[in-house]
Structure formats: C-alpha cells, structure tokens
C-alpha cells in the first residue's frame, strides 16, 4: 500500500507538472493525440468559415459589379500591410516552436512576445479600417449609405446600395469573426508565454507550443483568402 501511494503521489505530481496524463500509455501517444485533436478542430473551423465563404460566393456571383464597387472603397494598402504582418507573425510562431524544440528558452519567450505584438498590430490596423468604414457610413444598419458609387468597368452605372450593404455585412462578419479568432489566439499565446516563463517547455514536451502554433497558422491561412476576396476584387481602373 505504501508503495502504491508513493506511485500515486508521483503520478499526481506528473499530472501537476503537465507531462504525461494518467490515461496515456506514453508521451508520444499524448503528443500524437493532442496534435490530431488540433488538426481535427481546424477541420471544423474550415467548415465554420466555409458557411460565410459560401454566402460570399453566391452574392459575389449575383451582385458582381456592386461587390466590385464596394470592395474598391476599402483600403487595399492596409489589407496588404495586414497580410504582411500576419505572414511575419507566422514566421515568428514557427521560430518559437523551433526554439522550444531545441531548448532555447529565451528565444522562445522572445518569439512568443513578438508574435503577440504582430497580432496586436494586426488588430490595431483592422480597428483603424473599421473606424474608416464607420466614418464613411459603410457600416450596415440604419445609417448605411452608399449612393452614387460607380461600378468599375461600367461607366455611368452605379452600385445598388442594398447589394453593397450585403458586401459590407459579409466584410464585417468575415473579418470580425477572423479578428475574434485572433483575440482567442492572443489568449492562447499569453498562456503559452506564462508557461514558457515558468520553464514548462522542454524538447521532450512542447506540444502546447506546437498546437497553439497550428491554430495561429490556420488563422493566418483564413486571412490569406480573405485578403484577395474582400480587398482585391475589381481594383484595376
């Protein structure tokens, strides 16, 4: 009995120090389970965004010109800047994972911080874009106005404000839910940062950094599609 309680004690300690949970056979199984879990979760995320992409596709097809005109009213340079910001953050994430793998704790902490700074920069730029739209009365709702905006490539034709409003609804929904994912990502990275500062990650155990990174890259990939779909349609004069 004494033996088994010692084992129990060790077991509990292991559980406390997040290494091997009781129901896994070994660390490899635990890591594989966590990583598959995140990938499967990302698959559900694809479908979650998929519903909005579906709505976008149909209305883009129906209201081709109106979408072009509405898209032209948002600042593509800001969108491109944000794309670059996110791509840089993906690089720092992958460096953070590498630092955890190779036991470079200072680099890990540094890269996590830089990633979060990029994330905040992205949200800041996004917020500024929202502010612009608000100023221009392009936020769907009672004060929405989009009158006499020419349709690109069709001189003399103006966008239908109601159809433009659908574009802006989708714009705010898609970028808004994407931004929500960024905020969740920042939360995850804050937790990773705390854990990294406490020295919890070792080359044997860095799964949280790895799967947190997977989530971040996924949010980046969503933006990689949002950027051309929302910002770059009918840009040419």
């Amino acid at each position: 009995m004494a033996d088994s309680s010692t084992i129990m004690g060790l077991h509990q300690e292991e559980e406390h120090h997040p290494q091997l949970l009781h129901h896994f056979a070994d660390a490899g199984q635990q890591r594989d389970a966590a990583s598959l879990g995140m990938w499967v979760f990302l698959a559900t995320e694809v479908m979650f965004f998929g519903g909005m992409f579906c709505a976008y596709l149909i209305y883009r097809h129906w209201y081709f010109g109106d979408f072009g005109a509405a898209s032209k009213s948002i600042d593509a340079t800001l969108g491109a800047t944000n794309t670059a910001v996110l791509i840089c953050s993906s690089l720092t994430v992958v460096l953070a994972v590498w630092a955890a793998q190779t036991a470079r704790r200072a680099l890990l902490i540094g890269m996590l911080v830089v990633t979060m700074l990029f994330g905040l920069a992205f949200l800041g730029i996004k917020g500024y874009e929202y502010y612009q739209k608000f100023e221009e009365h392009h936020v769907p709702g009672a004060s929405f106005s989009f009158d006499h905006v020419p349709i690109p490539g069709h001189p003399g034709e103006y966008a239908n404000p109601r159809h433009a409003q659908i574009y802006f609804s989708l714009y705010f929904l898609m970028t808004g839910i994407h931004a929500l994912h960024m905020i969740v990502g920042l939360g995850i990275f804050t937790w990773l940062l705390v854990m990294a500062c406490k020295g919890r990650f070792t080359p044997e155990y860095y799964t949280p950094v790895e799967i947190g990174g997977l989530y971040w890259h996924f949010v980046d990939i969503i933006w990689i599609y949002l950027f051309p779909l929302l910002y770059l349609i009918d840009r040419h004069p």
Binding site: H22, H23, L36, T44, Q165
Partner: protein, 551 residues
C-alpha cells in the same frame, strides 16, 4: 488509505460508482463513465420536456377544432418539441451516453483522449440547455425547429436569438464529443486492437463523429448569420434587401440533414452489437457494415436539398439531389441486409435488447423506404409538408434512433449499473413501445397521404381526419407508458436489482471483459487483443468454458 490492509470478501470491489461520493465528485469528474451518466440524467430530463410538448400537440389534434390551445401556443409547442428533441435529446442521446461510456472501453483505453474536454462538453450542453429552458419559460419560439428565414429574421417576435444561442452552444458540445471520439479511436486503441477488430459500434461512432465535426460548424455560422440578420437587418437572407432566403435553407440543411445520420448511425452501431450477441454469430459481412457507416456519413452530406424541392431551387440541381438521395439508401440497405443475414441460422434469443433490435429493423426499414418516396421529385410535391413527412422522420428518429437507444440501454445496463433489470418487465415495455409507436405514427402516413398538412392546429374543415388522429393520440399515450416503464424499472433495479456478473450476456467485446460496474480506469491491466470481433463461435464452443482471461 493505510487502513485498507485486509479487505473483507463481502466488501464491494472498487468501481467507478463507489470510488468517490458527493456532488463534486460527479460535477468535477473527468471519468468518461461518470460523464456518460451525467449526460444520461440530463438528456432524460430534456426527453420528458420534449415528450410533454408532444403530448400537448397530440391532445390538441384529438379534436378537429383548435380548442385546447391558441394557434400561437400550438406553433410554440411543435417548435419547442422539435428543438428540444433534436438538439437536446436525439443528437446527444447515444453518442454522449452510450458512446461516452463504451467507446474507451471497447477500444481498450483508460479514458477518452481528452477527459477535461469531455467534461467541458457536458457543461456546454448544460449551459445550452439552461438557455433553452429560459427561452421556453419566457415565451419560446414559434418558427418550427427549422427557423426558416425570413420569418425568423424579420417577422416573428419570439425569442429566436436566444434559442439560437442555446443551439450554438449545444452544437459546440456535440463537436467536442465528436473530436474526442475521433482522436480516441485513432490514438488510444489497445495493443492488438486493429481497425478490423473494432466493434461495429465504434465504426458507427467514428462515422457519426465525422458528421458532428464537419456539419455542426455550418449550423453554428448559420445561427450567427440569422442572429446578425435579425438584429441588424443586413439583408443576407432578406429578399427585400437583395438577399436569398434559400441560402439559409442550403446552409441549414447542410447540417440538419446529416444531423439525422448523427441520430441514426450510433443506433445502427448499437443494433449491430445486439444482433450479433443474441444471434450468437459473427456479424455477416463485417467490412460491408463498417464501411457502409462511413459511406452513410459521406453520402449524408450530398443530399440536403431534397428538403427544398418545392422551395424554388433549380430543377436541374433538384434532379441531382434526388438521385443522390436514392444513393444514400444503398449503404443503409447494405446494413439491413447484413443484419438479416446475421440472423439467418443464428441461435436467436428473445431478450429485451433483441426485441428492441427487431423493432428497429422493421421501423427503420419502413422509415427508410418512405424516405425514398420523399426523395422522388414528383411524389415529394404531393406529400411535402404533410403528415407523411412527419411519420417518415419519426420512423427514423423514434422508431430508429430511440429504439436503438433503449435497446442499448438495456443491453449495457448491467455494465453501467452492475445490476440486472427485470427481464419480464423489459420485454413487456419493448412490446408496448413497438405497439404504441406504430399506433401513433402509422396513421400519420395515411393522414399525410390524404393531404393533412403538418403544423396545423385546427382541421375542422376536414373532420374525416379525426379518426386517424384519435388513433395517433391513443398510440402516443401507449408510447408514453412504454417510455416511462424502463425509467421506473431502471431506477428500481439500481437499488433492488440482482447484481450482474461481468458478462451476463456472454457477449464478445472488451467492455464485457472487465468488471460490472467497471473500475475507474476501465481495466485492471491493459488489455491485449488477440481475437477477432464477434468471436461468438469461440465463446460458445466449449459448453462451460472458464472465464477468458485478458492478456
């Protein structure tokens, strides 16, 4: 701990039920078996709420005049009946109760891959359920469980957004359950437990999880869109503002048609286990049954627009969807044929679980075949939105899914509780459920074919419908008794039932090779699987063989 040196023989073995006591040992548990029981209690609660609404609906339809409730109340009754039964009973029923309890044991694992996420999913379910209850008590929803736009977004003044939030949260609970199953089945199998040695219950749950994972997010985003549309009048689903209500229907049914397979696939898994055990035979065509589950999961995603044939979709698209809907009947038929072939020359025992399995076979076949009527473009125009549809999907969801759920509850009750249920009462209940079900829903096929539309509370212009409606209401009463009986004797058996042996049915499968009820980590030592699934010929070969030792 140090006191337990000499354990008297009379003391019960430590198991998951008696390991700890107290409310917190349940509310903070990460043991999949305890979470399964938490789910069992919660879904039973919602089942009786949904059943109560059904009872009121049937009472209203007892007479042609709309005399029991007001039209608005009736709308709310069938809406809340549908929402509660679909999202808070049927979808979690078998996966979250029996699946939660059995998936880790059947694959030979100590727990699901993510026990804390499993507990989280129960809490999400409870939060969603609480919001749904609040929504019901403060007015409810009157749109029908499908909350079609633009009625739900522009016109009704009932609590769409609140109900939407409840379903959204319950949906996440469902996603997390599916995620846990997929990872557990891939990563946690015991040594020797290859894919073709897995019980078909596991294959069915794997297929179910695929749908939960890939379908549920789409209804989640649809609910977000409906809520935004309703709050801000964006125009996405509003024809007046250039939107398309049919887009809502596409997105809604992309989840909600496959959701039917979330309900029926686990039930098929249960039935497979029961039929093999009570025919004392290996299931006929194991691989066909296994892959037909996956095929149903995939094909289930290709047929959704058959709900929209008369809603104004493209006729060419409707042709494709009609064809694909016929295609999904193939894997279902493969299953029915294989079950029947398993029965052939089997040594059949008519215990209560098997009675439910027989009930399932007949009712599911009828539900499936009438589904083909509805998938036919021409006939669907005639019977769309009539009681024919109601009867059809109740044959699948109640005759199929609930029969499977009850059969499974009986089959595994000795394992779950460690007690035997009273067999005589159970057979009687199975019979009552079967008779009550047919009496309730068969007349509805006839009513629907005669043209009685669904969702009407007053049919006084067609008094000739009354006879069939009275039959249906009478049947619902019988059915209600049939559902109350198992609850009563299950509760009774927990205290007074005879103790169950580890394997009272002499069934194959890892879950029967551990104690009843099982210890917290399921197995005293890690099982090593050296036998094929459903090895009933080996189990039955020597007349009185000693207990097979694991490993």
């Amino acid at each position: 701990m140090s006191m337990e040196i000499a354990i008297p023989q009379t003391v019960e073995r430590e198991n998951y039920l008696n390991k700890e006591y107290g409310v917190w040992s349940w509310l903070l548990t990460t043991d999949h078996k305890r979470i399964a029981l938490l789910y069992l209690v919660s879904i039973t609660f919602f089942f009786f709420i949904g059943g109560f609404f059904a009872l009121l609906i049937r009472l209203e339809l007892l007479t042609p005049a709309g005399d029991l409730v007001q039209a608005d109340t009736y709308n709310k009754l069938f809406t809340m009946h549908g929402m509660v039964m679909v999202f808070f009973f049927l979808i979690p029923s078998i996966p979250a109760v029996l699946g939660n309890f059995l998936v880790p044991m059947m694959v030979g694992a100590k727990d699901l891959a993510f026990p804390r996420i499993n507990l989280l999913s129960w809490y999400l379910y409870i939060i969603g359920g609480a919001i749904m209850l609040h929504c019901m008590l403060t007015g409810g929803v009157d749109t029908g469980w499908t909350f079609y736009t633009p009625f739900s977004t522009n016109f009704t003044n009932t609590k769409i957004v609140e109900a939407g939030i409840a379903i959204f949260i319950a949906g996440f609970s469902s996603i997390l359950t599916g995620l846990n199953f997929v990872v557990t089945i891939h990563r946690m199998r015991a040594p020797g437990m290859t894919w073709s040695r897995l019980p078909l219950f596991i294959w069915a749950h794997y297929a179910t999880s695929i749908i939960q994972l890939l379908g549920t997010p789409v209804i989640a985003i649809t609910i977000v869109l409906v809520a935004c549309e309703r709050a801000l009048h964006l125009g996405i689903f509003d024809p007046k503002l250039g939107g398309d209500p049919l887009l809502f229907q596409h997105l809604f049914w992309f989840y909600s048609h496959p959701a039917v397979y979330i309900m029926i696939l686990p039930s098929m898994g249960v039935i497979t286990e029961i039929i093999a055990c009570f025919s004392r035979k290996r299931i006929f065509g194991y691989h066909f049954v296994a892959f037909s589950s996956i095929a149903i999961a995939v094909f289930g995603f290709l047929v959704w627009a058959h709900h929209m044939f008369v809603a104004g979709i493209s006729i060419y698209s409707a042709l494709v969807f009609s064809f694909l809907s016929y295609a999904v009947a193939l894997p279902s038929a493969i299953k029915v044929f294989n079950w029947t072939a398993t029965l052939y020359k089997g040594s059949i025992h008519y215990d209560a679980p098997m009675l439910y399995a027989f009930g399932f076979l007949g009712l599911f076949t009828m539900g499936g075949l009438t589904g083909l009527f509805l998938a036919a473009l021409g006939l669907d125009v005639h019977v769309h939105d009539t009681y024919f549809v109601i009867a059809h999907f109740h044959y699948i969801m109640v005759g199929g899914a609930v029969m499977g759920y009850l059969g499974g509850m009986h089959f595994w009750w000795p394992k779950i509780s460690g007690k035997l249920y009273p067999e005589g009462w159970a057979r009687l209940a199975a019979l009552i459920v079967f008779i009550g079900f047919n009496l309730t829903f068969f007349p509805q096929f006839v009513l629907g074919y005669m043209g009685m539309p669904r969702r009407y509370y007053d049919y006084s212009h067609m008094p000739e419908f009354q006879v069939l409606n009275v039959l249906s209401t009478a049947g619902a009463t019988v059915l209600g008794v049939g559902y109350l009986l198992p609850m009563i004797y299950f509760l009774w058996s927990m205290r007074y039932g005879k103790p169950a042996s580890d394997n009272p049915w002499n069934a194959a499968g890892l879950e029967w090779k551990t104690a009843s009820p099982p210890p917290t980590f399921n197995f005293d030592e890690e099982p090593v699987v050296t036998w094929e699934a459903y090895n009933y010929d080996e189990l039955d070969a020597p007349p009185q063989k000693q207990e097979v030792t694991v490993g």
